[in-house]
Every structure is written in structure tokens, then in C-alpha cells.
């Protein structure tokens, strides 16, 4: 396949890759919103490691939004990967802290669908890493394809980034108080 047809196919792949990455940001924003609602509405105060897990999720959002907002960037996706790795390390360590019942140690907060927050964080980290891998395997070089892209995902990423920034600012206030 050569010529305009190949360009169309590459453009479609790039757009689908952008939409998949945008879906990851939206899903993470949903998780972070739920965590904040549980903290403020249900009084489930997070521990320091829980807060660091939120930082990892915000970091993934930054990496993806940087990639979508100003054209493709390998470095921005790398920063998202690094944040996902940080999230995985922190959440696995927190799971290991409380995996054996002993005095003074138990999982923080109530269980959601039978799993506690640190366990959910491990699943989120694995899902994000699997998502990055899936996007790279499915769309290949189209992820970093230079040239003009559809403005929809970039615009939506801007709004999603602002929403995540607002969530992070609320977290900042709750930490400071």
C-alpha cells in the first residue's frame, strides 16, 4: 500500500492511538476522582503511600497529556512509563506491608469489590503498563508519527489535563490542611 491510501491508514492509526491514550487519561481521572470522593465524603484519610500512589497516577496523566497536546513525543510517553513504574513499586510495597496480618498493621480504608486500595493501585499500574504496551504493539510507529494530527484528541487532552490539575490542587489543599 503506497501513496494517499497509505497516508490515510497511517493517519487513522495515529488518531486511534491518540484516542486510546486519551481514554487512559480519562480512566485515571475517574480513579483519582473516586479516591478524592472517598476521602472527602466518606472520611477515608489516605496514608503517605496512598498519596504517593496518587502522585504516580497524576504523573502518568502528565506524560500522556504532554504527548497529545503538543504533538507526539517519545520523551513524554517515557515520563508516563516512569510514573507507571513508580506507581507499581509503591503499591506493591504497600501491599507487602500489610499482606501478613500483625498487630498495628492492616489495609487502610474499606474494601471496594473485595479489594483494598493498595491492591487496586497494583491493578491500575499493571493496566496502565499493559495499555502502553497495547498501544505500541497495535499502532507501532503511528504513535510518534510526525505531521498534522486530528485536533480533537489534543483539545480533549487539554481539558482532561486541566481537570486533573484541579484534582491535584484539591489534593494539595487537603494535604496542607
Amino acid at each position: 500500500m503506497r501513496g494517499p491510501a497509505a497516508a490515510d491508514a497511517a493517519g487513522l492509526a495515529a488518531r486511534l492511538a491518540d484516542l486510546a491514550l486519551l481514554a487512559m487519561v480519562v480512566a485515571l481521572a475517574g480513579v483519582l476522582t473516586a479516591a478524592l470522593v472517598m476521602e472527602i465524603a466518606y472520611g477515608e484519610k489516605p496514608c503517605p503511600l496512598c498519596l504517593l500512589e496518587r502522585i504516580g497516577m497524576f504523573g502518568i496523566c502528565v506524560g500522556i497529556v504532554l504527548h497529545l497536546r503538543r504533538g507526539p513525543s517519545v520523551r513524554a510517553i517515557g515520563l508516563g512509563f516512569a510514573s507507571a513504574l513508580f506507581l507499581l513499586v509503591v503499591s506493591v510495597r504497600q501491599v507487602l506491608l500489610d499482606i501478613c496480618p500483625r498487630p498495628g498493621h492492616s489495609y487502610v480504608g474499606s474494601a471496594v469489590l473485595g479489594l483494598h486500595m493498595p491492591v487496586w493501585s497494583v491493578l491500575v499500574a499493571v493496566a496502565v503498563l499493559a495499555g502502553f504496551a497495547g498501544v505500541l504493539v497495535a499502532f507501532g510507529e503511528a504513535v510518534w508519527r510526525p505531521g498534522p494530527r486530528h485536533p480533537g484528541p489534543a483539545r480533549a487532552a487539554g481539558w482532561a489535563g486541566l481537570y486533573a490539575a484541579a484534582l491535584c490542587a484539591i489534593n494539595l489543599i487537603t494535604v496542607a490542611l
Partner: protein, 71 residues
């Protein structure tokens, strides 16, 4: 923790506004500070970074403890 969340808020706002260098720099700063705080939080004076409650070198497992007992 306040500094870390401030850095992340700045990184997200910069990313949303398309300021790539500022966003990346703030994210990197936030991640480095977070890594430092994480190591501080998990370090214990008695155990260091070890997790003795997860010890798998019990009796009869053939691990180091078992070898010591035989010796």
C-alpha cells in the same frame, strides 16, 4: 508532600496549556521528590528496607536458616 503535590499541579497545568519543557521539568522534580519520600517512608530503624514479616527462610525450607541449624 505539599511540595510534591505543588510540583504535580504545576506539571499538569503546564501540560494542559502545552508548555512541554515546564511540564516535563515539574514532573521530573515531582517524581524525584516522591522517590525520596517513598524511601524515607519505608525505611525502618530496626529493619532498614527489609520486610522480616515476609521471611521465607524458616525451618525445613532448605534456606540459610536451615543450613545454619545443620552446621
Amino acid at each position: 508532600m505539599i511540595l510534591i503535590f505543588a510540583a504535580m499541579t504545576a506539571a499538569l497545568a503546564a501540560a494542559a496549556l502545552g508548555l512541554r519543557r515546564l511540564g516535563a521539568a515539574a514532573l521530573l522534580a515531582g517524581l524525584v521528590l516522591s522517590a525520596g519520600l517513598f524511601l524515607f517512608e519505608i525505611h525502618s530503624r530496626e529493619d532498614g528496607f527489609a520486610m522480616p514479616w515476609l521471611s521465607t527462610r524458616g525451618e525445613g525450607t532448605g534456606g540459610a536458616a536451615g543450613r545454619d541449624a545443620v552446621a
